[in-house]
Symmetry: C2
Subunit: 299 residues, 2 copies
DNA sequence: TCCATCCTCTGACCTTAGTCAGAGGATCTC
DNA sequence: GAGATCCTCTGACTAAGGTCAGAGGATGGA
């Protein structure tokens, strides 16, 4: 990592923490303490939520949230009720007054944004917002974490289901995992392979599997990125991670197959140094087969 | 102001407050409470500082700072001593242990920056840091405030001195305000004119004067931007502000003169719609004369 | 039916980050 | 030399954010 880049990021953190961070907290809070405002925001407008879910998303102590909720309730902003089917769980929703209060936070947030733009001319605003979009996108990308999970883990299963559902829509004649090679994703667990899941704020947003047959080339399967997490370079990152793990495992060749409907994927493979080769398996859904030679890594 | 832009800024604030802001505070703080860490940072390494100056820069209450200093002193990180010449004032400097602690904050800050860059590939890092630089520059630009000051105000006088000093270096044969037209900047006060000072974090970083002779075109004088505040579009902003004020005052023509050594300024005037005209005064330091027709504003 | 578990709430407690009103010493101005 | 002014410090106080250890009701499984 380049030292100048680290210094640049630090400078950015200082500027932004000062200009945005401070304002963000002490503007947005306004009359309401920041904790309450945060909670109000998180409860949002869309109907009823489990208290537990909200709490987990904010990462707060249960006692603390309980107290915050009581304060909001006292001001008539939220209604807390037991869950209809499990009366241990409590649910919370905004009242009309709560929705108004939240809209007020919205306005404050707009005012803050506007106060940043106001002193700038049109061209500067244009440049600022597009640079902000870029920073936001890349910071989001850097927030995504990769983890090796068992293919039966709920997050992994969610990705595999989404993968199959999406292919079902894209392929002529649909997609049925049972007809494809690797009908059982259980093969993608140690020692015969591994399964990687990408998560953003705890939500699974992508996956990729690697088969590591002994004495044969490694094979990449089930590479998928959730539609709303596209444009973050995530597929490329998953691919690079699998290649590195394959290389560390001693593989010097990695292969994969893909369907002609998956144009972006095919482009990614070509860009990443894969070359098209004759069919090396009889996957019924595949139209293209690729391979890439790996440079062995230390260890 | 474009609604999409406001929304973009808000989205940015959310992402950044989450990813940078939170980490910033709770990483950087570490063992030391954030207030102490901030103070430690501000005292910095460069020798001895007046407590008052440090306090003003952080915008904190004197009692609060006193307490923070005592805590730092207890931990042996700073030494507080009376000012040698005015024993009401106290000065503060880091001890060796304080310098080490501050270096530790530095490392934490680096670690935070590195943790943002780590998950990205080389191209993404490149793009992130340059977008951050752009955002930082433009947010800094939007932090600059303009104020009408009396030319005798210390901040205004500082700008005028710097202006003269810089011209003195740039012009063949130096620059002596007494030889120029408008030897007395006092003419740049109401009702005969006005003087605008740009400030960044309270420090004066630029200025521009406007003469408003009754029945004659307005005239722009003493436009200057401090070297370390260049590249923020500040000269352009000062110019636009003066033009707007002139137009509101009823002027439909604004004029100015400039020296050939000031190439960037000359370029700015041309870009901003000024056209070169024959000399309209006998300013000894001028080589170019410009004018611009204003479109009258409402009111 | 009973016990373990889950979820929420309450009370007690702690640290930070401030604010405010003087007290008290040092300096400046007349 | 006497105020007025300046600067720092102290004590008293407040609010927010948060943690921890149970209490107590609801549910699920043996």
């Amino acid at each position: 990592m380049d030292e100048g880049q680290v210094e640049q990021v630090r400078r950015f953190n200082r500027t932004v923490a000062e200009r945005v961070g401070v304002l963000h907290d002490h503007y947005l809070g306004g009359a309401r303490p920041y904790g309450q405002a945060r909670l109000l925001w998180q409860i949002g407008d869309g109907g009823t939520h489990d208290v537990r879910g909200v709490r987990d998303r904010l990462g707060l102590d249960s006692g603390y949230v309980s107290r915050l909720l009581r304060a909001l309730e006292r001001d008539g902003l939220v209604a807390v009720e037991p869950h209809p089917r499990d009366r241990r769980v409590r649910t919370v929703r905004l009242t009309e007054a709560g929705r108004q209060e939240r809209a007020l936070l919205d306005d404050r947030s707009d005012a803050l944004a506007a106060s940043l733009l106001a002193p700038l001319n049109a061209r500067q605003r244009e440049r600022l917002t597009s640079a902000m979009a870029e920073v936001g996108r890349l910071l989001t990308a850097s927030t995504v974490s990769l983890a090796v999970l068992d293919p039966d883990h709920p997050d992994a299963a969610h990705c595999l289901r989404s993968y199959a559902a999406e292919l079902g829509e894209l392929f002529d004649g649909g997609f049925d995992p049972a007809n494809s090679l690797l009908p059982d994703p259980g093969e993608l667990r140690a020692p015969h392979g591994l399964f990687l899941v990408a998560r953003l704020h705890g939500e699974p947003v992508g996956c990729a599997g690697l088969k590591l047959p002994s004495g044969a080339p490694a094979e990449i399967k089930r590479l998928w990125v959730c539609p709303r997490a596209r444009g973050l370079g995530l597929a490329r990152r998953l691919l690079a991670e699998l290649e590195e793990r394959a290389a560390r495992h001693g593989c010097d060749l990695v292969r994969l197959d893909t369907n002609r409907a998956l144009e972006a994927a095919t482009r990614l493979y070509r860009d990443s140094g894969y070359t098209e080769v004759p069919a090396f398996n009889d996957e019924p859904y595949a139209h293209h087969w690729f391979e890439k030679r790996l440079t062995p890594t230390a260890r």
